[in-house]
Amino acid sequence: MLGYALRRVAASVPVAFCVALFVFALLYLAPGDPAALMAGDAASPADIEKLRAALGLDRPFLTRFVEWLWRILHGDLGTSVFTGIPVATLIGQRVLATFSLMIVALLIASGIGVPMGALAAYRPGGAADRAVMVGGVLGFSVPVFVTGYLLSYIFAYRLGWFAVQGFVSPFADFGGFLRTILLPAASLAGAYAALIARITRATMLDVLAQDHVRTARAKGLGEARVVIVHGLSNAAAPILTVMGMGAAVLLGGAVVTETVFGIPGLGRLTVDAVLRRDYPVIQGVTLFLAFIFVAVNLGVDLLCAAIDPRVRQ
């Protein structure tokens, strides 16, 4: 297990390095001169040149990349051109809203997706199976913002059960947190639940056809025990892996959900930065979220190896 864990951690280092290289290259190629932007309109060309040298912008790509990487590794993600606030601080202010949204969406999606997928595999062609098929196609076809506005219109605007906009910290007021987070999380969960239901169904179809399941039934175990203990625990690794890869769906969907529901999160921060061409913020948040994605998938792989010895091979 330890050997596997070490190998897996080592394997994610080059991936993280490539992420950093892409994010840096993307913004390196951005048009517009940051030095001219920072110096302001009144600056002379000589002033801009001096500032560019001071910022190190006149040096070659590789030198700048290594320096930038060095600063990143020390937790310095740069400073917002627009507000002058360090990007790390901006991320810190927003991270709670986005992570709460993603975790609640994850709970809703797996709470619906796993049981539905298991039921669908238990009786192929049955009602649950058809629901998963239809729900799957709809889940992949209805964009997050359409679900978002629909839910918001019915449950927040018409019925008044939930807040239309905003975010309340779960540590300050848990009731208020639920009133603000449940609708955006539910709309974000849609496509993710469809993804989980599909992979659960496919994996469970394989697992339930295996000999050990027949043996479990033959020795007289109840159906619930057969499906949950002998079925789901053996299907857990592929389901968890797909859930990890699907974290990209949640991270991307958060950008849209936060726009629809006015949640001050990382997605909104990125979009605002894009509209203002605040490149350090775009760079910092993109890098941060990509690292989260790498870390989540590393964690998922280690978890799979811990619960399923076959993975370690």
Partner: protein, 281 residues
């Protein structure tokens, strides 16, 4: 009197493939004939005294906050969506298959190429596309390029996995042993055998690209707002969505219908062409 076979054929439930094709043909027709169907309504004409009108006979979808005719704008929006869907599906599939075939067939390059693809895949597609459009400025071409790059990793991974399966087959081994050149093996033996899987995946890429374009325009980081796209129309309806929901409703319906059509087409094609493959999601 009546032929017995005829009504039975007419009553058969359409397959996913047929339903998908029917929906897409309808959308394609709407896109091609937009000026004709709009009947002289100008999608860009601003009429300040007719702002945010609800749907009526003269204005079937109502008007937006600038008084532009939403019926015409939504019809013209189909053009951008289909163009982006087709463009991204073609670009991502061609480039991705090329990279994937190289990674899958040329062992020494596999490690480096796949680490780069994993790195690219770690950046959530929406964020990558948003950042790229921010850098390149929004135009239909740039948006297609940005989304294609964001979708690329999925294509590369499928192409590489398919190539590795095929290259282990006896007939490929036989071709290698008999001294066939690598390009000939790739073109004659490998490509035809992975083509079905790649084609099926291209449809899912197209569906996801249409959705992603709408998302980019919706958050204001896509095609300039002067171009009527479904995402742009919805972005304009955002501020007043509770009182003027009609601005959001019509582009949303068309968007869902189009993506649904492409997904049904993909599911149907997969059942026909690539029954064992898993190109979904």
């Amino acid at each position: 009197m009546s032929g017995p076979a005829l009504p039975r054929v007419a009553l058969r439930r359409p397959t996913q493939l047929e339903a998908g094709i029917a929906i897409l043909l309808l959308i394609l027709l709407v896109a091609l004939l937009a000026p004709l169907i709009a009947g002289g309504r100008d999608p860009a004409l601003i009429l300040p005294h007719e702002r945010a009108l609800p749907p009526s006979l003269a204005r079937p979808f109502g008007t937006d906050l600038l008084g532009r005719d939403l019926f015409a704008r939504v019809l013209y929006g189909a053009r951008v969506s289909l163009m982006v869907g087709l463009g991204v599906a073609a670009a991502a599939t061609l480039a991705g298959t090329l990279v994937g075939v190289i990674a899958g067939y040329v062992r020494p390059l596999d490690g480096v190429l796949m680490r780069m693809v994993d790195g690219l895949m770690s950046i959530p597609p929406v964020l990558l596309a948003v950042a790229m459009v921010a850098v390149m400025r929004g135009s239909v071409f740039n948006v297609i390029l940005a989304i294609a790059l964001a979708e690329l990793p999925r294509v590369v991974r499928l192409a590489r996995a398919s190539v590795q399966t095929v290259r282990g087959q006896l007939y490929v081994q036989a071709a290698i042993t008999s001294g066939a050149r690598t390009p000939a093996i790739l073109i004659r033996h490998i490509l035809p055998n992975i083509a079905a899987a790649m084609f099926v995946q291209a449809t899912f890429i197209g569906a996801s690209a249409i959705m992603l374009e709408a998302v980019l325009s919706f958050v204001g980081a896509g095609i300039p707002p002067t171009t009527p796209t479904w995402g742009n129309i919805m972005a304009e309806g955002r501020s007043l969505w509770q009182v003027k929901p009609h601005i959001l409703v019509f582009p949303a319906i068309l968007l869902c219908l189009t993506v649904l059509g492409v997904n049904l087409l993909g599911d149907g094609l997969r059942d026909r062409l690539d029954p064992r493959g898993g190109g979904a999601g």
